[in-house]
């Protein structure tokens, strides 16, 4: 699914003052692409993601979806930084939620859920409640729940930001492995340069508020990307480039 973002602006009304969060943003995301939005905190990257998801309306501009194929699921599902798992549902019941509310028969949805439990490597934890899981496992449940819903687009809002550094790196590799199996369009918001370079096909670097697109960088690192990718010269060149672009924006705020 191709996403066309056209002249998106968003202003909030904060204590009677007009506050411009993002300003006149336009770019395209290709079908099946892993697209990362990178920017300093408060630059409006999450706002942009929420506009793409349809949960928030832009003040002006529009988002177009150039769909060729249409799967059975909804247009997009979101993976949240705070996991957003239902505490009263077990791992299996959480993953199945989307299929359940969309009226897929009990037999079909429980058959389907097993594949996703296996995909995210949670066999043996199906009947655990979220509070019994580690942060990394929780995010895997959230990922499986989003994917089990057959979305055309997967939207991820700093999904790994709450994890410790080591778990985060392992989850990045895990996420790439899972993504390589379903190849759907991903829009991934992050403030981590390494993460953006390791995961993305392209990186949109955003400016400080009001957020605009400063630069779009293509990441021509070969896939599959692994832990070794992060030690390659090319990786460091790209990370330096991104860092230089973002450094200026950080200084504006700091």
């Amino acid at each position: 699914m191709e996403i066309l973002i056209k002249n998106i602006s968003k202003t909030f009304n904060q204590r009677g003052m007009e506050m411009c969060a993002i300003k006149d943003i336009s770019f395209d995301i290709h079908d099946g692409e892993f697209f990362t939005l990178l920017g300093p905190s408060g630059c409006g990257k999450s706002t942009l993601l929420h506009i793409i998801s349809g949960m928030e309306k832009p003040t002006s501009g529009l988002v177009e979806f150039n769909g060729v194929k249409k799967s059975s699921g909804p247009l997009n599902t979101m993976v949240w930084q705070g996991y957003a798992l239902f505490p009263w549902r077990t791992v299996r019941e959480n993953i199945v939620f989307g299929c359940e509310v969309r009226g897929i028969s009990k037999k079909d949805r429980y058959k389907k859920v097993e594949d996703f439990i296996e995909l995210v490597d949670l066999k043996g934890f199906e009947n655990h409640y979220p509070h019994e899981l580690s942060g990394g496992m929780k995010q895997r449940v959230a990922l499986a729940r989003s994917l089990c819903n057959d979305p055309e687009i997967l939207l991820m809002d700093e999904p790994l930001a709450a994890l410790d550094a080591q778990t985060r790196t392992l989850m990045q590799i895990e996420l790439l492995r899972i993504w390589s199996q379903f190849k759907k369009t991903v829009v991934y918001v992050t403030h981590s340069i390494d993460e953006a370079v390791l995961l993305g096909d392209r990186i949109a670097i955003m400016t400080a508020r009001p957020g605009t697109i400063k630069e779009i960088v293509s990441v021509d690192l070969p896939r599959p990307r692994t832990l070794e990718t992060m030690t390659s010269t090319k990786f460091h060149q790209l990370a330096d480039m991104a860092w230089n672009a973002i450094k200026y924006e950080l200084n504006k705020k700091f």
Binding site: M78, G82, A84, F86, P87, R89, V101, P130, N149
Partner: protein, 255 residues
Amino acid sequence: MFKNKKLKMIISELFPFLVVIVIWELVIDLGLIKPFFLPSFSVVIQYLWEILISGELIKHFAITIYRMLVGYFIGAAAAIILGMAIGLSNPMRKFFSPLIAATFPLPKISLLSLFIVVFGIGDPPIIASIVATASFPILLNTITGIVAVDDLLIKAAYNLGATKRQVMTKVILPGALPVIFAGLKIGAAISLVVVIAVEMYIGNTGVGYLLSWATEFFKMPLLYANLIAIGIFGVFIFRGLDRIEKWVIPWKKEN
């Protein structure tokens, strides 16, 4: 192994009571307290046994439990239904919030005089007092529980394709359930207190009546026997509620 462990637990739980009973008997034997105020434990138990096999105790308990359950269930049902309506709807909340804030500090038991005037004597004023007192914490907890459901979970449910109705039944209600249940527990404790207090005041049957009768005629062993019976009954109620809670809210963290 398991059986052994359970036995150990029961013994360790009963041990403090054993100590209290020993001190109790000692205090009597040493003449520190007059037996009129505190009859010896064995005499009290003897009385307890007597009123138990004569059926007297069970008769009065049955009446008390009946009043308590009827009042509690009417109060709980009304509180949960109203609480859900208030919690889910902003206009309802705007309308009811000042009313709740104004009636909250009023000790609802002071309405008893009104209930006596309106309902006369017998069960109705007792039940009405339980409804009035027990419903309040359940109402407040239902509203709080619903309002406090994490907004992120509601957003996530909509994003996964849930309808408004599904968000209500599959997210807001289970999300509010632990807080509602905490309210139900407080309500149960209040109903037990209120049923006995009101029976002491206006009843001519029930455990509360038995207590006031024993006091009036200075039947101290009967008074103590009643207190022990009420204590045991209370323990069973709260153990039972804990069981139900574990069954209804299996995701609740063990403390």
